[in-house]
């Protein structure tokens, strides 16, 4: 409840990470344009992502599963150790018929499909932030 009260009226800081620069740019613009979010940084490698988390300790991390350096899964636990309240959302281009296990065990949400409607992505993030039950 403490986190809920703290973030109810706050602007949520977001760190984005994807090795595809065109996708990263489009994603950045989405969160830049979205009220209630501020993009704290964008990374194209896993190492850059970890550095940004260390510096910014954002409310939300939206990152690709596969990136040079291992992707978000490889550093999810480390990020949670640095910033325990950060909500980590993993994205992947492979979500259909691909053997990607749930990332709940590493404290991340996803992987969500790239191409998922932005409104759905934002809803998932907000429900996670406000500790509401996830939608089916």
């Amino acid at each position: 409840m403490q986190r809920l009260s703290l973030r109810t009226h706050a602007v949520l800081s977001v760190v984005l990470a994807d090795d595809d620069e065109r996708f990263l740019r489009a994603l950045t613009r989405i969160f830049d344009d979205e009220p209630g979010f501020v993009v704290s940084g964008a990374a194209t490698t896993t190492r850059e992502l970890l550095d940004l988390v260390l510096v910014c300790c954002p409310d939300v991390v939206v990152a690709d599963v596969r990136m040079p350096g291992g992707g978000v899964v490889a550093v999810a636990e480390e990020m949670r150790a640095l910033c325990p309240t950060t909500v980590i959302v993993a994205l992947s281009a492979h979500t259909f018929g691909w053997p990607l296990p749930s990332l709940e065990c590493v404290g991340a949400i996803g992987p969500l499909a790239k191409g998922l409607p932005v409104s759905d992505l934002l809803t998932v993030i907000r429900r996670a932030i406000f500790e509401l039950p996830a939608l089916e």
């Binding site: 595809d20 065109r22 489009a26 989405i30 344009d33 492979h94 790239k114 191409g115 932005v118």
Partner: protein, 407 residues
Amino acid sequence: MSEALVTVVTDSGQIVARSSESERYVGRILDDRERAQLNRPSGVAVGDDGVERIYATSRVEQTNWVVSAAIPVSVAYGSSDRLGTRLVVISIALLIIAVLAAITLGRRITRPVRALAGRAEGVASGEPYVDLPLEGPRELAVAADWFNEMVAAQTAASEKHRRLWEQLAEARNEAADRRIELLERLAVAEDTERNRIAAVVHDDTIQQLAAATLQVEGLARGFSAHRIGRDEVEDRLTEITASMRSATESIRRVVFDLASADMSAGLVGAVRAAGSRFFADTDTSVVVGGDELDLDPTRMQLVYRVVAEALSNVRRHAQARAVEVMFEQEGTYVTVSVTDDGRGVAPSGTVSRPGHLGVRLMAERAEILGGTCSVARRAEGGTAVTLHFELIASDSARDGLLSPPTT
């Protein structure tokens, strides 16, 4: 000489004296047959006593008497009859000896013949052969010797035949194993190819489409919330168009990868066309040259895929100014090299590095061709991909000849 008979007869045929039974015959007149006999100097006649005699007659000079002397034939030929009997006995004895000799000789002949027949039957039924003894008449011993030699030759031929069959069976098994191995390689190569295409679609096409989707959604959300103006809409639409065009090009490349190459202009021509296409929007110069290869169509596609993959790698990773593809045939050996002057692969090479599906695919295709594919950093800079393989029968089957190298 008691059996001898002397008779004196007058010309008129009256018996005047007789050495035996004179009282009975003296004075008797001979009949005409007997008188005719007297007129012959000698002969054989049967007397009225029934005894056959040899007789001889002689006229007594200055008389009208004729003297006849006769002895029984049995007396006259008695010694010669005994000799005849002796000869008969000897003949029978000789005959018996001859028969015994014939039997013995026959056995000497039939035993080797029987042995020969028995061996022949044994050979026909596949029994182990034991050499015939060289016995009996010389001709049969020679025949047995020939038969031994013939069977030995036939046994050697059978052994050679059996070994050939074994070699044939072994070769057939090896061919079957090779076929299975090839099928496995094909399956692996196909799987690798699928993964490669999936990776291309994932890394390229889906990312671009996802980015375009995000751009469209961002534009729609911003426009509906009146956060973006007309000018920015145009900018964003331009970006979206670029993304869509890029995604389309990416899909086109995938389709190009999936489709079989057009070999109507030959392998060199197909590679030249692929090179032009791959590097159409770059500053990289492409040179394709060397010998046109006369390959089996399937193998030609495999070679093309290896070269196309190498060119694709140059395009994506090498940052090269120039790339050269060279086809060289020396005898039945073919070397295809793709060299560039780009940044070069890591010194350790990339063939065995996991995740490099394209390079692995080149190696697998080379193995299907029965050859090798190496990827190496060039001393003068850049990368050299070298495919090396040998032509096989089906490569030249279409023309019946291996095409000679052209210069």
